[in-house]
Each structure stands twice: as structure tokens, then as C-alpha cells.
Symmetry: C2
Subunit: 358 residues, 2 copies
Amino acid sequence: MVTISVDAMGGDHGPSVLIPGAAISLERHPELKFIFYGKEKDVQPEIDKFPKLKAASKFVHCDVSVRMDDKPSQALRQGRWKSSMWKAIEAVKTGEADVCVSAGNTGALMAMSRFCLRTMADIERPAIAAIWPTLRGESIVLDVGATIGADAQQLVDFSVMGAAMARAMIENPKPTVGLLNVGVEEIKGQEEVKEAGRLLRDADLPTLEYHGFVEGDDLGKGTVDVVVTEGFSGNIALKTAEGTARQIGEYLRAAMGHSFMSRIGYLFARSAFKRLGEKMDPRKVNGGVFLGLNGVVIKSHGGTDSEGFAAALDMGHDMVRNELQSKIDIDIKKFHTRQGRSRSANSASEQSENKSEK
Amino acid sequence: MVTISVDAMGGDHGPSVLIPGAAISLERHPELKFIFYGKEKDVQPEIDKFPKLKAASKFVHCDVSVRMDDKPSQALRQGRWKSSMWKAIEAVKTGEADVCVSAGNTGALMAMSRFCLRTMADIERPAIAAIWPTLRGESIVLDVGATIGADAQQLVDFSVMGAAMARAMIENPKPTVGLLNVGVEEIKGQEEVKEAGRLLRDADLPTLEYHGFVEGDDLGKGTVDVVVTEGFSGNIALKTAEGTARQIGEYLRAAMGHSFMSRIGYLFARSAFKRLGEKMDPRKVNGGVFLGLNGVVIKSHGGTDSEGFAAALDMGHDMVRNELQSKIDIDIKKFHTRQGRSRSANSASEQSENKSEK
């Protein structure tokens, strides 16, 4: 059994899209249980439409919901302790749920997740990991925007966490990891990136294979399983790729509608275009995973439809099934102990304090 | 008359591709003159094949040429004063040529250009500006990799230079400028970017319209005429977009070849695909422009063919015709004088020193 707590008020379209998404995911994973948080008058009627889902879920009414355009500080001020988003996150903290999924606004979700779940004892900064479709399959890219900037140690921690996520996703005990960098040989990158490269090479970790630096065009090639960078450049890379895909989609549409012949061609090649559309479908890989907190939170695109939200829920299911959180916990502790910088191993008192907070 | 100095040994394919490229560009701009630098035995026979080009060009033999995999420091050590790349750049310094075009390696070309031409009196760091195809036409993106990091003043200088280039390229006396940033409201970007935004807003320049922050997906949309960022994220955005375009091209090829029907469809829609191919053709916009030096240097892709190299030469022609260098010079001086930080205006002695160096 895997229990997912859902902020049913999140996203551009709210419960009318999210609840049917849960019903789709439940069909695929009958062992799923849901706890939905939101306004009763909006959410309950949607749940009532899906008897199987209703049987597998619990509903908790919340008066407050975080708006898509709330600033993180505003969301925290108004929504802490009581909003549907907060409650969904808190369910992971209390152990009622195994993972939280929300289509709400990213900044608010990250701020509340940090505040409620706290970063893991050995982690200074959380990261948002995105699944990136590549010519070789899928890669994981982090951080795509949790924080701005990262020092070498933080980049190395991102690498360890990203590799743990890759192992929870793909059948590869030792995923390859690359650090995102620029190509010009001697100005090659920020000092932090160079230093992180040295640390990863020296560490020679059993849980990942350090590949070296990769460049922006290696993302689409799928050169490595995990691409690590700080949140500013990661966010820009992610949005640039999304924008480029949309741009080419526009060109293609314009080109195919241009002449009578091309329109006939389109009819013949319709199934090919359908395949292409599927390849490029952002719903298939909908879900940014927050790593480095005491619990897993998954962010779905705000503008997603039910199919896309189901994909985010599926991912939540897989991350729990494949024990993402404990993988990260074990890997980070081992690594930091080797480096002599484990906070959790060195200060047992601090850790028990952390736990008693729960 | 516009004279272009060409490092005829640059690029993956050398003079056999570059010289025919010059012949193509000469057809389009009969007022062009060329000075080619390179090894006589390699270059002269190529020039001899094009009588018109031969008549419009001068050839200078150089023993040394910079290799595509030379490190910038290595290239400087071995190629300074004497390589074909150095000589081509130096021709701009001495005034023999109006602009230098090279398909040689970017790091070496930038290092030599900085060493030979020096940065403009009022500019601390040069930038590489790329032409970015968008849904609205073309935008300019800088810096795509001249240096790593930039403070607020440098980002503002990039904005002024980028706008000058936009005015030299498009018929718009006041191009729009956006600062590349990430979308999450309150962590919104590096301090430098925020500060640069404030400076641009306060400056209220007559030569550009400051639009505000833009995100990665605004690049393909063409939201603004000029997108400004520091070299690390700019380089990653550029290569990510290139990689994504190639990736989708691969998907499309695979999808169209998948079935008999889709292959028939392809035949009908051939002209549409040709149009799409042209839209996505990187040769059309081949050329990164080095801004902020005492002279314009244009970098062509190393792997380009003759058509692509001709596009880089065309761009060189246009930049000279439209007085890019003096536009930058005037705009930067005016702006710095208003800010009270003009080095060229404040210290005439320093500037004359700079000149006597020539």
C-alpha cells in the first residue's frame, strides 16, 4: 500500500482535473490510497463521481487554499498550519502519507515543504529534480530552481541525491552523473563546478559513476543519467528546452498547413505525427521531485490535465515503492561519514532533537 | 567598400570550405574585399578557383595556424604575432580590415582578440552575442560564453551593446531588452540580475526599452529583441536549445520513417519539410559577434559548410555597413558619462595612451 496526500486545490484547474487524474492513476496502481485536502464543496462532488477512488481515499476539508500567484512568503503567512497545501505536506511529516503531490505554485510548495519537513540532517539545500526526455530515454536534471547558486559540496550532494533517484527510477545500480558546464576549455566553468568535479572524482562513490562535465546539448542526447547544476542555470536550461520544443512544434504546424500537398502529406503521415506528439508530450514526464527534505514532495505542472496529473501521481507511487527517501538517506550518510562531515553521524543529540520535533 | 580579414585556416574543414564561402558572400555583396591569412599551399589554390574572388582579395602567407583543439593559452603562446588567426585580428587593429571573421576555435579567438584589440576603454568584459531564431524573427542573446559571471554594471553594459547590435541588424531605433532570470517569484534570481534590472529601469535609456526579466522559454518566443545574461547560463541556454532542436529533428526523422504510410506522407509533404528544415537551419544564423573590443570579430561555427560561412561573412558586412562599432562606442560613452563612470571621458590621458599603443 502506498498513500499519497494530494493538495486537491492546486493547479490552474483545481479538483475537476486533479481528482479524475487520481482515478486514472488508481486504475494503474490499485494498491494506492489517497488523502485529498481542499474545500469540501469543490472536492467532494468530484470524488463522488469515481466510486472506486472514493473507496480508496479519505477527504479532509481545509478552508484555506494557496493561490497560483501567491508569493511564497504570502503563502506561508496565510496558509501555514491550515491550507490544503500545508496539510498535504504535513501528512508526510506525520507519516499518514508516504508522499505528497501538488500542482500548486512551485515557490509556495517549496517554501512550505522546507518549513514543514525541514531539510535532511546532512543536507544544506534541497533541490528540484526534473525528468528530462532524451534520445536515449530519460535523464534526471537537478536543481531546476529550488535555490540560486550552490557551492561545491552542495553540487556533490545534489549528485548523490540525483543518483539515488535514478536508481529508484531505472534499473541501473550505478547511474552516470555529469556536471553541467560550458565548453570553452580554459574558462571552463565556475570554481564551484570545477571543485565539485574534483570531489566527485576523488570520492569514487559506489552509488554513482562520475562522468565529468557535460554541456547544454548533452541534455537532449542523454549523455548521462543524471545532470547536476545549480538552480539558476538548471531552471534556464529547462525552460529553454521547453520553449525550443514549442517553437519547433509551431514551425512544424505552419509548414504542414502551408500547401495542399503538405496537407495531404499530413493525412498520410498522421500516425507518424501522433508518435512524434507522444514523444514530445510533456504530460508523460510531469513531475518535479523535491529532494533533500525529510519526505518526498512532487510538484506537478500547474497547467496539466488529468492525464498529466496521473503521471505525477504514478511517479509518487514509484518513488515510494522504490524507497527513494531511504536510498538518499543511506547514500548521503555514508558519503558524508567518509568525508568526515556527517552532521547526523557526528551529533546524535542534534538528530534526536530533530526527531523529537516530529 | 567593406574589407573583411579572414583566418582561412580556421574551422573543421579549412580553406576548401571557407574560400568558396567567401565567393558566395561576394556574389551577394560585390563591394566586399577580402584579406585571407593562411598557408600558401592550402589557400592559394582555393582562391585561384574563383577569379572574381581572386580579384577582390589579397592573400598573406602565415606559417602557423591555430588548431581547433588548442587551448586558448597554448594558442596565444604559439600563435601570437604570427598565426593566421592573429594576423586576421590584427588587420582590424591596424585598420587594414573593417571586421575579422574566423571559424577557428572560440576560446583561442576570444583570447587573441582580447589580447590584440583590447577591450574598449569603457568596457570591463567583452561578450559573445548570438543570433537566436525565434517565432517572431530573430533576437540577440549575450553573453553566450565569453566569460563566466558578470556583475550588475557588466550586465547593463551588455544590454547597451546588445541593443546597439540590434539597431545595426533590425530596423528598430529602440529595441526591447530583457534580463534572463528564473521564474520563482521571491528567489527571483541572482542579486546581480536584480540590481541590473534596477539600473536599467532608472537609466531610462534612449537607445533601448527595458522590458524586465524574461525566462528561458521567452528565448524561442522572441519576447524581446535582446536577451542579456552572464556567459555561463547564456552558453548553457544556447547549447540546450541547439541540443533540443537536434533531438526533435531525430524524433521527426524516426517518426516519418516508421511506416509505409508515413513515408508516402513524407513525399507529399516534402516541400513542407524543406521549409521546416530552412527554419531550423543553423547555417542561416551562423555567427557569434564579439562585442566590447576595439574592433568587431565574428566567430563562425567550426563545423559549418560554405553556405554557413558565407552567412557569417554577410553578417560581418552588415555590422560594418550599419556601423556597429561606433554605435556601441557612442552609446556606452553617453551612458557611462550619465552614470559618472566613464573612463574614456574622465581620463583623456589614459585613452590617448591606449591609442598610442596602436
